[in-house]
């Protein structure tokens, strides 16, 4: 806990005007240093640096994932991996059975060293069929999806304006797009962002 606080204090100080100590690194002009790496993926070929599927086993920092095309992936979570599960979270929240999208770097042994992992992320369109206390019932291609509003997490974007926490402008019968986190093996999701017209 203290370590996190110290680290955050250090980072905050750096962002708000800390002293740049690395003048011996050559040019610090970002444009000079930030030349993009060339793309190495064949057009039309599957992206080797991406994996999706459901977690079948967790061993240490390795996730064993069964892809929806039954391909098996080994995904390594590193100190630098971002983990999203409705919001940025930590490795201990990863559980067997979670769906997953991962992006990273494919290592020579075939494992994917993940830069970013998104757990149970869904992106769906639907109509609001009914509204309850902190819950939306969505009609999604004839199926019912129960979308839970998570206080202090769920956000709404109305007409493409900046996101707000107030979801009260959502109306029954209207079309919405929802980004959220699926509850595995159910028709329920938690809402991360709902996009709607108001």
């Amino acid at each position: 806990m203290n370590q996190t606080l110290d680290r955050r204090r250090l980072l905050a100080t750096a962002a708000l005007g800390g002293v740049v100590g690395a003048t011996g690194l050559g040019s610090l002009a970002p444009e000079a240093a930030f030349a993009a790496e060339p793309a190495t993926i064949e057009p039309g070929a599957p992206d080797p640096n991406f994996a999706e599927g459901r977690i079948s086993r967790i061993s240490g920092s390795m996730l064993l994932v069964t892809g929806s095309d039954t391909v098996l992936h080994s995904i390594r979570i590193t100190d630098g991996t971002s983990i999203w599960k409705l919001h940025p979270t930590t490795f201990d929240k990863v559980t067997v059975g979670d769906g997953l999208y991962a992006r990273g770097v494919r290592l020579p042994d075939g494992t994917l060293a993940a830069d970013s992992v998104w757990l149970n992320i869904v992106n769906l369109h639907g109509h609001i069929a009914a509204v309850g206390r902190n819950v939306l019932h969505l009609d999604h291609q004839g199926r019912r999806i129960v979308a839970h509003v998570v206080p202090d997490r769920s956000a709404a974007v109305y007409n493409g304006t900046p996101a707000v926490s107030d979801l009260s402008l959502l109306r029954v019968g209207r079309h919405v797009q929802v980004l959220g986190a699926w509850h595995p093996d159910t028709n329920e999701i938690d809402i991360a962002t709902v996009y709607a017209a108001a």
Partner: protein, 288 residues
Amino acid sequence: MIDVIAAVQPLVVGVVLIWSARVKLASPHAAAAANRSALVRLLGQHRALPAYRLLGGVELTLGALLLLPPVLRAEALAATGLAVAFLGYLAYARRAAPTSSCGCLSARATPVSGRSLARAGLLAVAGGLALLATGGWPTAVAGHPVAGGAVLVVELAAVVALSPELDQVWLLPLRRLRARLTHPLRGGSGVPLLATVQQLQLSDAYRRVAPLLRSDVREHWDEGDWRFVGHAARYQGRLVTAVFAVPLADREPDRVRVAVVDDATGQTLLNLTGARPASGPRLSIAPV
């Protein structure tokens, strides 16, 4: 009593059939409705629309015969047969083409559901009851206006309640009213992380540092008027953290700052503050 109920059935079934025929024959969206239905799967793309129209013609004829005197047992039999056939078709559609639309009482795309099946079942039962009728519905209704009217209203209400196509007309307004009275979604407060990320991505600092970033948002925390957002990044071969400071309350992407901090040593490698004025001429547009 059973006489009154039986005598009213031709009226109920006739009204529903004519309503259904109206969609198939007169709706400008009939072709689209036919294409969405399971008829495409059953008969093929080219025969779906003619079959849909033909079905509408049969429904109209039968509906008119049921409504107009004389009351013949054969009409009730035909109506029952049609309802049972429709029940079979819906069951087939639900199994063979679950994404198809019913195309029943409205051209609106409505998947076949348990309610559609229950409605077809209700019509089949109504047709069966009509077989028991001894007289025409006008005399029955004239003889027992209250009972006849009540049976009619209850049955038509049941048909409407079992029609997902008609939810738009009565169910959604009711749910809207309930939401307006109870405000079930009120209470959200605070600045969502997405608002910060949106502001961050509009900033000059982000645009300059973006090629370094390797990860999505790894952590974020608030301190005073700022929200800090950390990404894993790589800078000149080192593993680093790019930490952005974003104004929490105000939307000022120009004030977003970023530092790139070495993970191993804690040294700040780079620090960019705010926006630089754009070079070259600038067009200023004032909102009118």
